[in-house]
Amino acid sequence: MLAEIGAQQMVEGIPPLGSPNIPTTAPEGGDVQILASGWRLALREFFSNRLAIVGLGVLVFFVVFSFAGPLFYHTNQSLTNPLTGDLAPSWGHVVGTDDNGFDELGRMMAGGQTALEIGFFAAFMATVIGTLYGALSGLAGGIVDAVLMRFVDILLSIPLLFIVLVLATRYSATVVSQSLIIGLFSWQIPARLVRGEVLTLRERDFVAATRIMGGTQTRLIIRHLIPNALSVVIVNITFLIADSILLIAYLGFLGFGLSYPIASWGDMLGNAQNAVTSGYWWLVFPVGGCLVLVVMACNLVGDALRDAFDVRLRRR
């Protein structure tokens, strides 16, 4: 009987709570509008951002260019041939050749591989370390948190390029070693982000609700904290990739890049200054342009992802 209130019960003189004119099939709380699911909503927002599509397109292009390109565009990248050095672009060598006689376009493809590999690998490492560190710090709280965060402050105060340069002089420069060095020294920002996220999430009502239900710390972390902190981490990965690619470019430019015969964009620009003054522009601007485009694409995708995730959490 009680359940009828608000639905059908008629009282003389005044209309009932739910009027006969309003279809009463709907539940008391009203219908739910059909909206896209959260992730789909984020995706839609992401793809409605034209710059994001451009960024993603550029990234896809460079992955194909670097990894599939050499399958179709065969060039000699191992035997130096000074006789064909420093040739201007022509039909034989679309972007010319460098001072060793290597085809510049082929070398750009090879360099793209290392840039993307190191970028992804270093970003992945930094993210894993940073996420664990930040989550630990945020969850522990108190003095542990304070000490861990002061250590992050210390590492953030040391200019990254300095340390990486000094370490690069000591270790043989391979893709793996450079990714390790960069990854090991760039996890501080993700650590801070994750910690901040954990700290705010911990105060949220839905976390309190889980605790009040008797949920364990593990459930809290796995079901609530990680899924909610994930978007921040994902967004940051793209920025980390961009930064790592820039960093190896700096190393290469300063002459501490990868050892021969691995090609990298930074190494290719190591002699850029002489090339520019000698008028060999094709040795500088195409490869530099690639570098800028890839980094820009990563930043664009990161920005768009951040906006998309914001939308996902925004109330309608």
């Binding site: 105060s157 040391i158 990254l160 002089t169």
Partner: protein
Amino acid sequence: MTGYIVRRCIAALIIAIGVTAVVYALLAFTGGSPAVAALGTHANRYTIAAWNKTHGYDRPLVVQIASYISNLVQFKFGYSYKQGQSVGALLNENAGRTAYLSGTALVLALLIAIPLGIAQAVKRNSPGDYIATTATFTLYSMPSFFLGLILIQIFALDLHVFPALVSDNVTTTWEAVTHPMQLTLPIVTLAGLTVAGFSRYMRSSALDVLAQDYIRLARAKGLAERFVLTRHLLRNACLPIITLVGLSIPGLLAGNIITEGLFNYPGLGLLFFDSLQNLDYPVLLAYTVIGGVLTVIGNLIADIAVTVADPRIRVG
């Protein structure tokens, strides 16, 4: 307020000590030994051990760090065996020129970025905003040496306005100050990247402030838009930039290495670059530590400046 500043200073001191210890330990663990620097890479194990014993490098790491810090406090930075000079003297000789380069670049960057960011926020989504956003985004994704190379190509090689390299005649700080043509390209290169970061941040900070209710109240008072911007927006929007300036120091120092190398401008960056190639560890160690400590000091000054500029923090 004094209490707050004193506490900040103590925390900064702790972090500075931490920075020194971490850098020292990193170099020690990775085998960056001054013995190698002093005796050359071909010295045998026994001579190195003997050298280490006489110079105190066989002591426990903690003791070495402590003695290194106590030397630092007395401005003793060690001895460069490669250059046959004390590190202090080397640093002292180059510091002025680097300070001039970085200082002018930073000021220039702020002078451009703050008005640009505010203008973009006020005229958001206008064609001007899009152009400026694209430009700063491109700059933001560009390695500084590439920006330098483009500038050299355009202004030195094509237009012959500025020299491609800083003349060898510029040897003192005073000569650097009095030869603006020589320094233009290095300063613009270094400032360019800083502008990119600052103006992006300034734009979003100004957008945040523009959305605040007190801007609406200022307009409701009948204030002209110009006064709304200067009296209400400017100060509030610049508060976060103060912190950003403190945080930008490592980037500036790294930028020095690139810029000074690219333009052959004698400063700390070039010294560091030369020392890298010579494996001159005492110099590398000293400059990395100084870079870290400068960052800590920069952040401290920024913190204090924010406290002065933002009345909300004064109570703390």
